[in-house]
Amino acid sequence: MNQPVAVLNSIETTPSSVPAAIPKAAVADENSVPRRLGRWFVATILPALLGFTAFFAVWSLISVYATDLPKPLATIEKCVEFVRANMWSNQNRVGVPMLVLYSLLRVLVGFAIGAVVAIPLGFWIGSSPFIRSALTPLMEICRPISPLAWYPVALVMFSAPVLENERFKAPTMAAIFVIFICSLWPTVVNTAFGVTQINKDFLNVARMLKMTKFQVLRYVLWPSVLPNIVTGLRISLGIAWMVIVAAEMLNGQDGIGFFCWDQYNAGSVSLSILAMAMIGTVGLIMNVVMLRIEKRVTFDRQN
């Protein structure tokens, strides 16, 4: 029988073979708060600042030959002025934050409907080879279609006389439909992928425990696929946000996308750029929130 061999006890370390120890005081200095702050600044903040500086430099360069494009400093001035004066209520129109809220609401409705459809569809596609073969060609054709190309069909669908409703106007419904149809695909694809990645051993455990189909879904399939679902939802949300801006630009009455296009038409490109900044910020916040959720839901797959 294999006996552990006690060789390590017999090795002696001579003083000359061990390097001189680093004094404790020096190590403490290295990790002092000012040093660590300094390192964090250099590693994280400084490159970001440099990145933004480069961006403004390129902007200034472009605005030299594109004379209609306002220079960065001028833009910032105009934006600050606007924020101070008119942002919260713009005469008889709604303030800009409210517009962002309108856009967000449309996104969330379209995204929610999309999620409710996409997740079961993803499960179905992942588990049934027949459905996968049936729906994959359709999916691959629909996926690259730009939201702007869906818009005319959507408008026509929701302009039917039977759907006429003061509350739910055709452009709004069309926008929500376009968000729905474009944000489906990442969730479907990721969910289907997650279903195929399920460890067969877990299913064997479920079989050994004689779990009903519903119990397998709830206790084994769902937690296993959840990280993939959340990844898909995060990407879908990003796409949905991009789509609403495009849809509003095309035919909107309010919302941040409409504001962006409207300001351009009114000649005020700076405010258009302000709208861009707000769109970007909201997108960033949503992405960070989804990442946090993703992190909480992900488990270490290595069993």
Partner: protein, 285 residues
């Protein structure tokens, strides 16, 4: 009528157009409360055998009976400890064991189930880690959770599919002792598949070699009458242990050599010496 029996079990796997007969003519009869070890090479169909016994796959021919009833599908009466632990990674140790207990003993009260789970966690010495997730545990601890999960379901027969193969030698030794101790308490019927002959002889009442595939079948069983509890260090010098170990190892080595020569013989296709008959000259002559 044995407690657990396999009668003439055979299983083939079809890949593409070829069909490989992995197991053929497997016969096994187990008494209740017996600890049987099956030893064999890697790839000889050991895991297939466990799948068949657990009911996860159906045999192509023959029957598998537990207490006289045929085995038609998987169930908690045949608890399996998988080679790869198969712990659900999003559940804690407690949660993993609770999964089985809540399913099998759904008519018990929550308090009773909790006590039951904690009893088995204590049995495998994991009380400190009961709230941890599998990725925070070492391999030995994960395997202990897997064993606790299987035992907590109160199965009729416990099937161990190479439970200690993925562990280092030292942990393996520890866990062998734990398995022996656990078995002493309950005297459950256990069938253990292993690739270590020593481990088999240390733990089991009977050790049966599995011939290498294809068409693997069980060799002769060797009864182990060494008294329990068995001390690994003392066993090394025990003549009976050495005799059984040599017998089993020789059997396996010979079986493997025989299988290799048969395979080689099939490869060298010797054609008969034939010369074409000269019809023209034959007719003339």
């Amino acid at each position: 009528m044995s407690f657990f029996e396999l009668n003439d079990v055979g299983k083939s796997f079809v890949t593409g157009t070829t069909s490989t007969e992995v197991l053929s003519n497997v016969n096994l009869h187990m008494r209740e409360g017996e600890f049987v070890a099956i030893v064999g090479f890697s790839g000889s169909g050991k895991s297939t055998l466990v799948s068949l016994m657990a009911g996860l796959t159906a045999p192509d021919c023959g029957s598998i009976m537990l207490r006289g009833q045929p085995v038609t599908g998987p169930g908690p009466d045949r608890g399996v400890v998988f080679q790869n632990y198969s712990l659900l990674p999003w559940l804690t140790v407690y949660g993993n064991i609770a999964l089985g207990v809540d399913k099998v003993f759904h008519d018990w009260s929550a308090v009773k189930r909790k006590e039951h789970i904690e009893k088995y966690i204590r049995m495998v010495n994991l009380s400190d880690a009961s709230h941890k997730r599998p990725h925070e545990l070492s391999g030995g601890m994960r395997q202990r959770v897997s064993v606790a999960r299987a035992l907590a379901m109160n199965p009729e027969i416990l099937l161990l599919d190479e439970p200690l193969s993925a562990l280092d030698a030292l942990t393996r030794g520890n866990l062998q002792n734990q398995i022996a101790r656990l078995w002493e308490q309950d005297k459950k019927t256990v069938l253990m598949i292993t690739n270590d002959v020593d481990e088999g002889i240390l733990l089991a009442d009977r050790i049966i070699p599995l011939q290498p595939g294809p068409r693997a079948t069980l060799g002769p069983a060797f009864e182990i009458v060494l008294p329990r509890p068995r001390d690994r260090k003392a066993l090394n010098h025990d003549p009976e242990f050495q005799r059984i170990r040599n017998a089993v190892t020789n059997y396996l080595v010979e079986a493997s050599a025989r299988q290799r020569t048969m395979a080689a013989a099939k490869r060298e296709l010797r054609l008969p010496r034939l010369t074409p008959k000269d019809w023209r000259n034959a007719a003339r002559a």
